[in-house]
């Protein structure tokens, strides 16, 4: 699904590269999380895979980037929008403002791609059902909560049936309830085989719950790759600029206090913590 080989990218006007010698291979039907501190290159990677680099953000790009069999630098944004869907941080900014109901908002992208009307109705209903927005279909997009608006953004992209969905910190402006809605939805979409998902995130506990694989970036370089458990249990986690989850901190604290012995696989979710401490 994603093949990135020896990619280096430097934004126009910047001295140091935002991504350096990056190699990455992602298979179909997986949920990948891109982790790293601010400035690690997460958003740059998302922009690169969506085609915004080099077609929207200019700079020096070297290496190979192929997504869903499409050569990204050689394809226009319009072509990329048929294969890759992007969801951004601010749900409010993703409402087009050109449609009056949730249903019509989802139809906006389909209209642009010239999808025939009967198929449009099917796709919209499917997206509404998948994202749990069916009951809100006739509401104004501006009358939704932040979490609902972000689900609407996801529904709008899902209707386009992208082979890859990229989400750049989609929960950074959401409350815990909204965050839970988005992550639960993403896991359900991948499990149902609807799409492949790559999500740049900081919320490690949710990543541990829903992701299949993790990629860790630091200063534009790949520093680790593996399952959430492998990555989040790494002793180098803090050196990469990431914070431990409260469950793994509790495990270390309990080991330091002599209550339990420290095991190789630390807990990162509530379920894992229950099992670990039992």
């Amino acid at each position: 699904m994603i093949e990135v080989e020896a990619v280096t990218f430097t934004y126009a006007g910047e001295a140091s590269p935002a991504l350096q010698q990056l190699d990455l291979k992602i298979g179909e039907g997986e949920l990948w999380a891109v982790l790293g501190p601010t400035g690690a290159g997460k958003s740059t990677l998302c922009s690169l895979l969506a085609g915004f680099i080099p077609h929207f953000y200019r700079g020096a790009l070297s290496g190979t980037v192929r997504v869903a069999g499409v050569d990204v630098p050689g394809s226009s944004l319009a072509v990329m929008s048929e294969h890759v869907g992007s969801v951004f941080q601010n749900p409010f900014n993703q409402v087009t403002g050109a449609r009056y109901t949730v249903r019509e908002e989802i139809g906006f992208g389909l209209e642009n791609l010239g999808v025939p009307q009967p198929e449009m109705f099917d796709r919209i209903e499917h997206s509404l059902a998948l994202t749990g927005l069916s009951e809100l279909a006739e509401r104004s997009p501006y009358a939704l909560s932040g979490g609902q608006q972000q689900r609407l953004a996801i529904a709008s992209i899902l209707a386009l049936r992208p082979r890859l969905m990229i989400l750049d910190e989609p929960t950074s402006q959401l409350d815990p309830a909204g965050t839970g809605q988005v992550f639960t939805l993403l896991r359900a979409l991948v499990s149902a085989g609807e799409t492949t998902v790559l999500v740049a995130e900081q919320r490690l506990e949710w990543i541990a719950r829903v992701a299949d694989r993790c990629l860790v970036l630091q200063a534009g370089r790949k520093v680790s790759e593996g399952t959430p458990s492998e990555v989040l249990s790494s002793p180098e986690l803090t050196a990469w600029g990431l914070c431990e989850t409260r469950f793994s901190r509790a495990a270390r604290a309990s080991a330091a206090a002599g209550v339990t012995t420290l095991r190789h696989q630390l807990p990162h979710t509530l379920d894992q913590a229950v099992e670990y401490f039992q």
Partner: protein, 224 residues
């Protein structure tokens, strides 16, 4: 056009159509609010300062003239008729549907987006302004109270509002691109515009009427 013709149009055409479309109440309320700020000064200025002809009544040193009243009534009637027609259109027609019809007749679809989003800018700006004002209030800025205090609170709002809106533009542009906004090729529409034969005949009738009126005025001008 005689002064009473505007009122006749309003009473016999606009208001019955509004009642038919079930927007009579909202339309008359909005029209009243729209016309009143113009009507009062026009009536006072024209009535008292016309300066010649029949005096209807005097108020201390001021006289209210009949000719001024007729001129004011004509002016107010024109404003009311224009406002009524505009309100009837805006209350009974969704702008996106109207624009969709225009796109089907050859207007670029990007123009449709521009017009519709511009009309929806107000709620976006309001939401953004409320967020900024909440943040400023949290840091001690007084935004409520007298008119003067409210006016002063607007000044520190303008800069962040403009900057935040500009910063949002990039993400909005990318979000549009992600949904195929620049996709080439034919576009489709989720909404089907129903165009009945009676609507078509009405359109032809209106075009004919408009052409006839233009010709009538043209001939009247030539004969003069």
């Amino acid at each position: 056009m005689p002064w009473w013709a505007c009122y006749l149009t309003l009473g016999l055409l606009v208001l019955p159509l509004a009642a038919l479309a079930r927007v009579f109440g909202p339309l008359t309320r909005t029209l009243w609010k729209l016309v009143l700020p113009f009507a009062v000064p026009i009536l006072l200025i024209q009535g008292f300062f016309w300066g010649e002809g029949e005096v209807l009544f005097t108020l201390g040193p001021l006289s209210f003239y009949r000719a001024g009243l007729i001129f004011a009534a004509a002016s107010i009637g024109r404003i009311a008729m224009l406002g009524g027609c505009f309100l009837l259109l805006s209350m009974t027609t969704r702008v996106d549907m109207l624009m969709r019809a225009l796109v089907e007749r050859g207007l670029p679809s990007q123009a449709l987006y521009l017009v519709v989003t511009t009309l929806q800018l107000v709620p976006r700006f309001q939401a953004q302004a409320h967020r900024i004002q909440d943040a400023q209030r949290a840091r001690g800025l007084e935004t409520e109270g007298s008119i003067g205090r409210r006016a002063r609170a607007l000044v520190p709002l303008i800069g962040p509002l403009l900057l935040a809106s500009l910063m949002d533009v990039e993400e909005r542009a990318l979000a549009l691109e992600a949904r195929g906004f620049s996709h080439r090729g034919p576009r489709t529409s989720l909404v089907t515009l129903h165009d009945s034969s009676s609507q078509r005949w009405l359109r032809i009738g209106l075009w004919t009427l408009a052409a006839a009126l233009v010709l009538f005025r043209l001939f009247a001008w030539i004969r003069r």
